[in-house]
Symmetry: C2
Subunit: 199 residues, 2 copies
Amino acid sequence: MARTGRPREFDRQAALETALVLFWQQGFEPTSLNQLKEVMGGISPTSFYAAFGSKEQLFREVVALYRSQQGQVTDVLFDENISPRQAIEQCLRQSVHMQTDKTHPLGCLVTMGATNCGPTGDAVMQLLREERLKNFGGIKRQLERAVSIGALPENADILALAATINTFLNGISLAARDGVGEKELQASVGNIMRLWDAA
Amino acid sequence: MARTGRPREFDRQAALETALVLFWQQGFEPTSLNQLKEVMGGISPTSFYAAFGSKEQLFREVVALYRSQQGQVTDVLFDENISPRQAIEQCLRQSVHMQTDKTHPLGCLVTMGATNCGPTGDAVMQLLREERLKNFGGIKRQLERAVSIGALPENADILALAATINTFLNGISLAARDGVGEKELQASVGNIMRLWDAA
DNA sequence: ATACTTCCGTATCGATCAGTACATAATTAG
DNA sequence: CTAATTATGTACTGATCGATACGGAAGTAT
């Protein structure tokens, strides 16, 4: 049974997708309500707030959507059914592929979505930071697992290797936005993985 | 001979320094004139515009100041009087040291100063992008020099190695802001330099 | 002294910010 | 039908954005 009341006249999901693109391009703070309303189908402020609550709540929904779509390239970091080395390499290769895909904004929303924030944007900055730290945690856990199953030697400096991988992963976003191509970045992933083999 | 007219009542250089700190913390767009005027000694809008022209012009001055101070850690990329390997390693180690120094905002202004921009911030974004691409160019030139003097083999994939180093360099800013310590990041530099030795 | 130059503080500009008030339209429930 | 519910469009809120107008203050030049 459809719920009561006047039906919504715009596609909520489609509006979320276009909001995602805008936030991805510009980040949280410089993206204005007017811009959002316009790209979300020219909806009215009343419709916007009735459907999404506030700019920050919309952003949180957008981040969740991103994580379930393009951002799932990092999910493999938490997969314990493949080899640790495969998990890391797949994460990096998929991240490079996704972030250099010109069918959407370059770089990563979690990495770049809220880097320039005034005092009002602290909560949003923290939201994305936690997402990044989750990924860093996933990297570390895969390395620990690698040591525990003998895929990496006991004396490997896995904290340093994890930091190296994490830092490289962070850097992909800016590199992509600065025009570095997928080819060079995939070759760079090959370099990073060579560190694994030498560890 | 002192120049004519009423003398300025605030220290222009000191005001620039405090503006640098604020832009470094928050980035270009979310930093407001009110915030700037306050930290710059509580100067009036008239004094601000007379002395600095506009928010964007102030930012450009701030970037130049940063480049001449903290940002000079990358100048070594253009030094042809030391070995190419030393140039790269010094750049990375100094960058890590500077960007994790808690006496000023974490990360790098050139990397993070204008990542979230609306349509009005394009010029500033481009300014920092060009600074980053200059550094990337310096990395590439050092690698070419290394090949030319036999410090790297002829068949080394220097474009891939340059992209790896550049991407890592980009990533240091976010890593530092997310709380990764200097120790782990210096160890990561050691890892990156291992790629050089294996090239 | 007077002109000239430069900086100062206050008050304010139009535009835009995120968010709301209010009356109305469209649907379901009874 | 009426009531209840939910969405709609228009108009508008106070706050803040970057930037300016204007008159006076403080210095130098002659």
